[in-house]
Symmetry: C2
Subunit: 211 residues, 2 copies
DNA sequence: ACCTGAACACCGTTCAAGT
DNA sequence: ACCTGAACACCGTTCAAGT
């Protein structure tokens, strides 16, 4: 259909398919169907499914805002963390895909270099910079998957989700969980706010390390 | 073979298979082969592959040491975090499996309840306890996958890994990455030490929140 | 140069038939 | 009660054949 197929269009279509129907629905055959072509034709533009997944991972990393060298290190780390979380929220399959494949693509490498560069420039030693990077990315990559695994399935708003939890709990069992869920139902918050809380904890401690 | 098959044995064998050959090698047919039985026979003990994966997730959570109520909250959080990381290191497929399925099993629920209970008892408000829990678990669940995605593939010791990185980098590109890798090659550290660093950052900030 | 059709080895799952 | 054999609808991938 419309113009001829190429690698870029194939990878983009794969990302859309994964976004809409989940990564487990991403199938060479289904992707071909969506592009109006047989599955076998995709092999003219992509070496195989592995290559397709590599392409998706690299395009996702490219969506994350890189820290610009000018700004304060803490603000730079905050911005790129927030940007990464938004990307992982748009593409729930992305975090798992990236860290099952390692930072191989050129986008990933310059991402790593920029983050480490910002930390070194701020005055962290190479060893601490590496550790700080790992701590931040562990949190960043872990957060969205943790968040979405907690908010159970189909609940429309977050208060409803908390009430679902409460309803599913046997009376009296899990009192602390019930207490927290009740509190949450009264004043719910979103994933952006929750993410900021944990991010602030890590950044505050890093700042103290610098003094 | 040896005795008759049952759900427990099937789930354990699935975990062993996933540990040894990767979660993507876990196949009903391969699992049957390993148990000396046709794939179809497994359906006598397990409702399907989804049920099998649920069983694996629950057994993994059961391997994590629960905090005992007696000890100081910070020490309790540290212990359960270290225990969880060890479990995820033994079972690299576990973190992804658990947070793609949500905390449904009874083991997961008492795990959540105990952690929240410890935080509430320490004096955190329900809202802060929930946020602290989420921050800690995002880090814990994210760490091992991040770590193993960084240490590229086949390097025997960690120094060798760093040298591999350096060799793969085009001369002069990625200077900060090269700097950190060189430093790491001189004095490498293990995953346990790296995990402790980030964990300490989060716990220290939480402690300050309590004052 | 790109696409199709058919094939191959592999999945998860069901079900009648055996013991 | 548990297992087998065969079948079904689905995978990823290859390759000769078409245009």
């Amino acid at each position: 259909m419309r113009d001829t197929l190429n690698r870029e269009r194939v990878v983009r279509a794969a990302m859309d398919l994964a976004d809409e129907r989940g990564i487990e629905s991403l199938t060479m055959r289904e992707l071909g169907r969506r592009l109006g072509v047989e599955a076998a034709s995709l092999y003219n533009h992509v070496a195989g499914k592995d290559d397709l997944l590599d392409g998706m991972a690299d395009l996702v990393v490219a969506e994350i805002d890189l820290p610009s060298y000018g700004v304060d290190w803490k603000e730079a780390m905050r911005r790129r963390a927030v940007s990464a979380r938004e990307v992982f929220s748009r593409h729930p399959w992305a975090a798992g895909l990236i860290d099952s494949r390692g930072p191989s693509g050129p986008c990933s490498l310059s991402y790593v270099d920029r983050v480490l560069g910002t930390l070194l420039q701020a005055g962290f030693s190479p060893g601490i910079a590496a550790n700080a990077f790992l701590a931040l990315d562990s949190y960043i990559y872990g957060f969205e998957r943790q968040w979405s695994s907690l908010s159970l399935g189909a609940a429309v708003d977050t208060t409803e989700a908390a009430e679902e939890v409460l309803a599913a709990i046997p009376q009296g069992a899990y009192p602390s969980l019930a207490c927290v869920a009740t509190d949450y139902a009264a004043k719910p918050y979103g994933d952006a706010a929750a993410f900021d809380f944990g991010l602030g904890l890590i950044l505050a401690s890093l700042e103290r390390l610098l003094e």
